[in-house]
C-alpha cells in the first residue's frame, strides 16, 4: 500500500491522467452499448454510467489531495487521503452493486 502512494506523489500530473482516460473509455463503451441495446433496465445503465463517473471523480479527488504543489492540502498525510479514497470507493461500489438489479 505504501508503494502505490509513491507513484501518485512523484508522477504528479502525468501518472494519474491515464487512469481517468481509462474510465472515460469505459464510460463511452457503456453509453454506446445502451444506445444499441436500449435502456430497458434503466437502473443497470445508470449504475454502469455512474460507477465509471464515480471512480474517475474519486481518482481526481485523490490526486488533488496528494498533489504536493497544492498548498491547501499540505498538512494532509497521503495515507489519510488514500484511506478516505478507499472508504468512498467502498460506499460507492456497495451502492452500485445494490442498484445493479
Amino acid at each position: 500500500m505504501q508503494d502505490s502512494n509513491k507513484p501518485y506523489e512523484t508522477k504528479v500530473i502525468v501518472g494519474g491522467g491515464e487512469k481517468v482516460q481509462q474510465w472515460s473509455v469505459y464510460l463511452i463503451a457503456v453509453v454506446v452499448y445502451m444506445a444499441i441495446v436500449g435502456s430497458f433496465p434503466f437502473n443497470s445503465f445508470l449504475s454502469g454510467v455512474l460507477s465509471c463517473v464515480g471512480t474517475a471523480v474519486l481518482a481526481i479527488c485523490l490526486r488533488i489531495q496528494v498533489n504536493k504543489e497544492n498548498k491547501e492540502f499540505k498538512d494532509l498525510p497521503p495515507e489519510r487521503a488514500f484511506a478516505d479514497f478507499v472508504l468512498c470507493n467502498l460506499v460507492l461500489h456497495l451502492v452500485i452493486m445494490n442498484f445493479l438489479g
Binding site: 500530473i13 435502456s39 434503466f42 437502473n43 445508470l46 449504475s47 455512474l50 463517473v53 464515480g54 471523480v57 474519486l58 481526481i60 479527488c61 485523490l62 488533488i64 489531495q65 497544492n70 491547501e72 492540502f73 494532509l76 487521503a81 484511506a83 478516505d84 479514497f85 472508504l87 468512498c88 460506499v91 460507492l92 451502492v95 452500485i96 445494490n98 442498484f99
Partner: protein
C-alpha cells in the same frame, strides 16, 4: 515563565470553555425536547392531525410484521425440532428475514377503494424506519415502550438533534459563540415547533434534522477538503431523500452555491471535492429510494427530457470544465493557453447551440415544459389556483400572510438582515452559502406557508451570527474600558480575526456615533511580552494589524452595558413568545378539541368517539366514504376501508366523491353504490361552532368535482357569488347530499336550526332522507354517520327496467315520483 503561565491559563480557559459549551448544548437539547411537550401535558400522549396517523399505521406494519417474524422464527426452531412441520417452514420462508420486506412490498387495499395504493413506492420511508429502529433499540435494551409512545416522542428527540446540528453548522461558518446562539434559537423557534410537537409524527420532524446535518457536512467538506466528510455528506443526503420530498431543495441549492463560487472566482479544489462526489454518490443513493426512483436524474416522467436538464448534472459538467481549465492553465504557457482557449470556445459554441436547439425542441413539445404541477406553482404562485384546484385547496399550500412571519420567527425577522451583513465581513465560502440559503428560502417561504419550515433554520443561523457579533462588540467595549482589565490582548485573538463590525440594530441606532479609541496602553503592553512563541507573536502582530488597520470600534461603556441589557431583554421577549406559541397555538392535537366556557373546560372527543363506533359496530370489510381529510384517521383508528384519503394522488377519485357529495340523494346513492360504499361520514360543526367542518369545505368538493364532471356547475350553488345555507340558498344547494346529511334533524336541537358557524338559521329545516339512514351522531353532533339504504327486492306497481349507475337518473326519478304516490325507497 510568563509563557508557561499564559499557556496554562489559556489551556485552562479553553478547557473551561469546552465544558461550558457542552453543558450549554445539553441544556439546549433538554429545552428543545421539553418545549414540545405541552400537548402531552395538556391532553394526553396522542398522535395529532391527519398525516401522522398514516405514518403511525405504516410503522405498525413495519414493527408488527418483524415481531411476527421473530415469533415465527423461534416457533420454527421448536417446530422443526419436534415436527419438522411443512406449514411452519413455508411460513418462515414466506415472511423472510425481517419485516422490512413486508413493508417494502406492501400493497394497501384498505384505502382508495377499489384502486388500493402501493405503499412501498409512494411513501418516504425515512421517518418510519427511524422510529422503527428506535423502538427496536429500546426494546433490545429492555425498555418496553409501546409503538405509539415512540412515535409520539420521535419528533422532540429529533428537534434536539436538529439544534445540535445547527450548532455544528454555525460553528463552521462563524465560530462557537454564534453556534451556541443559533442552536438556542432553533430549539425554540415557533415555526419548527409547529411541525414537531410531541405527537406530530410527520416527515418534517426528521427531515429538518437531516437537512441541517447535510448542510453542515457540506460546509465541513468545503472547509477541510476531506473526502471522508464528502462520503458522510452523501450518506446524510441519502437520509434526507428517504425522509422528505424537500430533498430537491438541497440538490438545487448546493449546485447554485457551486455556480456562485465559480462565478465569483472562488473556485478551489476543495469545492470540487465537496461537490463532485456528492453528485455521483447522491444521485445513486437517491435512485435507491423507490419513491424517487429515476426522478433523481430526470425532471419529469418522459425520458425525452434527458439527464442534462437537471440542474445538478449541468453544474457537475460545468465544474469539470472549470477544473480542466485551471488544470490546463497550470500546464501551458500563457500564449499557448490563449490559443487553446479560443479554439475550445469556438468549437464549444457550435456544439452548445446545437444541443440547446435540440433540448428546446424537446421541452417545447411537452405541455408543461417538463415541470410538474407542484414545482410550477412554486415558481408561479397563481398557477395552482388557476389550474389545479386540489393543490389550491390545501391550506398549507397558500402563501403566508405578513403576521404569520412575525408569529413564526418573531424577533429573528429583524436580526436576519444584521446577520447577512455580518456574513459579508469577511465573505468566505461557508458564509456565502448561508446567505444563498436564506435568500432562496425567503422566496419559497413567501410562496407556500408550509415552506416557512425551511426558512426557520436559516433565520436562526443568521440571527445567531448577528447576536454573537453584537455581544462580541459590546463585551469587548466593556473589557477595554473597565479599569485594570488590560490583559485582553490575547483574549481577542480568536475573536478579532473574524473582523470587527458594528451591527446596525434598532437598539444600537442611538449609538451610531462610534469613536475610535486607540488604546495606547494596551498597545504598549503587547510588544513588551517578548518571550512568546513565534506563532503567538505572529498572531499578535496580525491581530494588532487588524486592530489598527480595521480601526477597532469601541463604544462608550454605558452604551455597551445598556445595549447588552437590551439584547438580553430581546432574547427574553423571544423566549416568552416561543413558549406562548408552543403552549397555545401549536399544541392542539386537532383530534381532541377543548374550549373554555362559563362552566369550565369542555372536551370534545367526538372524532375518536365516531371512529370507535365504526370500529365496533360495522363489519370489517365495510367501506366508508368521507371527504379525503379524514381518510388516514379512519384507516388508522376505525380500521375500515376508505375511498379517498389524504394522499390525494388520484384527482378523479376525489372528484367522484366530491360529485357525490354535491349531488341530490338519488344520484349520490348511485355513485356510492357503484363504489360498494356502506357508510358515509360527515363532519358537522354547526352545533358547537367548529369551523373546519364539511359544509365549509363544500366549495372545494364542488370545484374539484366540477373540474372532472362538467355537470356540476359551481354557479348553481352560489347566490350572489356566495355559498349560503339559509333560506336564500339555491335549490341545488339545499338538495345536495352534503346539506342534507349535515342538517338532518338539526332543527330538533333548538327548534330553529341555528347554525353557529355560519350564524344563520338553515334554509330547509324539515326534510326526510330517502336513500340514507342515520346510524350514529356523536355527542356534540360533530361527526355524523349514515348508512346507505339497500335496494328493495320488489318495486310496487309497474316494474321498471333497472337503470345502471348513470348520473342522469334524476329526471327519471322525478318522473317516477310523480306517477306513484309512495317513494319505493322509503
Amino acid at each position: 515563565m510568563a509563557t508557561l503561565e499564559n499557556g496554562k491559563g489559556t489551556t485552562l480557559r479553553y478547557a473551561v470553555g469546552n465544558m461550558l459549551s457542552i453543558f450549554i448544548l445539553l441544556l439546549i437539547g433538554v429545552l428543545a425536547f421539553s418545549i414540545r411537550l405541552f400537548s402531552v401535558i395538556k391532553y394526553e400522549s396522542v398522535i395529532h392531525e391527519f398525516d401522522p396517523y398514516f405514518n403511525y399505521r405504516v410503522t405498525q406494519i413495519l414493527i408488527v410484521s418483524s415481531a411476527i417474524n421473530h415469533i415465527l422464527k423461534s416457533l420454527n426452531y421448536d417446530l422443526s425440532k419436534h415436527y419438522r412441520g411443512l406449514v411452519a417452514y413455508l411460513l418462515f420462508q414466506f415472511l423472510t428475514k425481517n419485516g422490512i420486506y413486508d413493508f417494502w412490498n406492501w400493497f394497501d387495499d384498505r384505502t382508495w377503494y377499489p384502486l388500493g395504493r402501493v405503499i412501498g413506492g409512494t411513501v418516504y420511508p425515512g421517518l418510519t424506519l427511524t422510529a422503527g429502529s428506535l423502538w427496536r433499540i429500546l426494546n433490545s435494551l429492555n425498555i418496553p415502550l409501546s409503538v405509539e409512545t415512540v412515535c409520539v416522542f420521535t419528533a422532540p428527540i429529533f428537534s434536539a438533534n436538529a439544534a445540535w446540528a445547527t450548532y455544528l453548522l454555525t460553528k463552521e461558518v462563524k465560530g462557537t459563540g454564534a453556534g451556541l446562539m443559533a442552536a438556542a434559537l432553533l430549539a425554540m423557534v415557533p415555526s419548527y415547533i409547529s411541525r414537531s410537537v410531541a405527537g406530530s409524527y410527520d416527515n418534517e420532524a426528521v427531515a429538518i434534522f437531516a437537512l441541517i446535518f447535510t448542510f453542515y457536512l457540506y460546509i465541513k467538506t468545503l472547509n477541510t477538503g476531506s473526502l471522508f466528510y464528502a462520503t458522510l455528506n452523501a450518506l446524510s443526503y441519502f437520509y434526507m431523500v428517504c425522509s422528505w420530498g424537500g430533498y430537491t431543495f438541497i440538490i438545487n441549492l448546493i449546485p447554485m452555491h457551486v455556480l456562485l463560487c465559480i462565478v465569483t472566482g472562488r473556485y478551489s479544489s476543495r469545492l470540487y471535492i465537496a461537490y463532485a462526489p456528492l453528485v455521483v454518490l447522491g444521485t445513486l443513493l437517491a435512485s435507491l429510494v423507490p419513491v424517487v426512483g429515476f426522478n433523481a436524474v430526470m425532471t419529469s416522467e418522459h425520458f425525452a427530457s434527458f439527464l442534462l436538464m437537471v440542474l445538478h448534472m449541468q453544474v457537475f459538467i460545468i465544474i469539470h470544465v472549470v477544473a480542466l481549465v485551471y488544470y490546463i492553465k497550470g500546464i501551458l504557457s500563457p500564449k499557448m493557453f490563449k490559443v487553446a482557449v479560443t479554439l475550445v470556445v469556438s468549437v464549444g459554441m457550435v456544439v452548445c447551440c446545437a444541443v440547446i436547439a435540440v433540448l428546446a425542441a424537446l421541452v417545447a413539445s411537452s405541455p408543461t415544459k417538463g415541470w410538474s404541477g407542484r414545482s410550477l406553482s412554486l415558481l408561479d404562485p397563481t398557477y395552482a389556483s388557476k389550474y389545479i384546484p386540489i393543490i389550491a385547496s390545501v391550506s398549507e399550500h397558500q402563501p403566508p400572510t405578513w403576521p404569520s412571519y412575525f408569529m413564526d420567527i418573531n424577533v429573528l425577522a429583524f436580526l436576519v438582515p444584521a446577520g447577512i451583513i455580518a456574513c459579508f465581513l469577511p465573505l468566505s465560502d461557508a458564509s456565502s452559502f448561508v446567505v444563498l440559503y436564506i435568500v432562496t428560502s425567503v422566496y419559497f417561504s413567501g410562496v407556500m406557508v408550509r415552506l416557512m419550515l425551511v426558512f426557520a433554520p436559516a433565520a436562526c443561523i443568521l440571527s445567531g451570527i448577528a447576536l454573537s457579533e453584537a455581544f462580541d462588540v459590546f463585551t469587548r467595549s466593556i473589557k477595554f474600558q473597565l479599569p485594570g482589565v488590560s490583559g485582553v490582548s490575547h483574549s481577542g485573538a480568536e475573536d478579532t480575526t473574524t473582523g470587527d463590525v458594528v451591527i446596525q440594530n434598532d437598539i444600537v441606532k442611538a449609538d451610531k456615533h462610534s469613536s475610535t479609541y486607540k488604546k495606547e496602553d494596551a498597545l504598549k503592553e503587547r510588544p513588551s511580552k517578548k518571550n512568546r512563541k513565534k506563532e503567538r507573536e505572529h498572531l499578535e502582530k496580525a491581530s494588532i494589524k487588524t486592530q489598527i488597520e480595521k480601526r477597532l470600534l469601541v463604544l462608550p461603556l454605558e452604551a455597551s452595558v445598556i445595549s447588552i441589557l437590551l439584547l438580553v431583554l430581546l432574547g427574553a421577549f423571544y423566549v416568552v413568545h416561543c413558549v406562548w406559541a408552543a403552549a397555545e397555538a401549536y399544541s392542539a392535537p386537532s383530534i381532541v378539541l377543548t374550549s373554555y366556557s362559563h362552566d369550565g373546560l369542555h372536551v370534545f372527543d367526538d372524532f375518536r368517539e365516531a371512529y370507535a363506533w365504526l370500529r365496533h359496530n360495522t363489519e370489517v370489510d365495510d367501506k366508508v366514504a368521507s371527504w379525503w381529510d379524514y381518510g388516514y384517521q379512519t384507516t388508522a383508528m376505525a380500521n375500515r376501508t376508505v375511498i379517498v384519503d389524504n394522499n390525494t394522488w388520484n384527482n378523479t377519485h376525489i372528484a367522484t366523491v366530491g360529485t357525490a357529495m354535491s349531488s341530490p340523494e338519488k344520484a349520490a346513492w348511485e355513485i356510492f353504490n357503484s363504489l360498494d360504499v356502506k357508510y358515509v361520514l360527515v363532519v358537522f360543526g354547526g352545533l358547537v361552532g367548529y369551523s373546519s367542518d364539511d359544509i365549509n369545505k363544500f366549495l372545494w368538493m364542488v370545484r374539484i368535482g366540477g373540474g372532472v364532471f362538467p355537470h356540476i356547475k359551481e354557479p348553481d350553488y352560489l347566490r350572489d357569488g356566495q355559498y349560503r345555507i339559509d333560506s336564500e340558498a339555491t335549490s341545488t344547494m339545499l338538495n345536495s347530499l352534503m346539506y342534507k346529511l349535515s342538517y338532518y334533524r338539526f332543527v330538533e336541537v333548538d327548534g330553529k336550526g341555528f347554525d353557529r358557524v355560519r350564524r344563520t338559521e338553515i334554509g330547509k329545516k324539515y326534510f326526510k332522507l330517502t336513500h340514507f339512514e342515520e346510524v350514529f351522531t356523536t355527542h356534540h353532533w360533530m361527526v355524523r354517520i349514515y348508512k346507505l339504504k339497500s335496494m328493495k327486492n320488489r318495486i310496487r306497481g309497474k316494474t321498471k327496467k333497472s337503470k345502471s349507475s348513470s348520473k342522469a337518473t334524476t329526471t327519471a326519478s322525478s318522473k317516477r315520483g310523480g306517477r306513484r304516490k309512495k317513494n319505493p325507497w322509503y
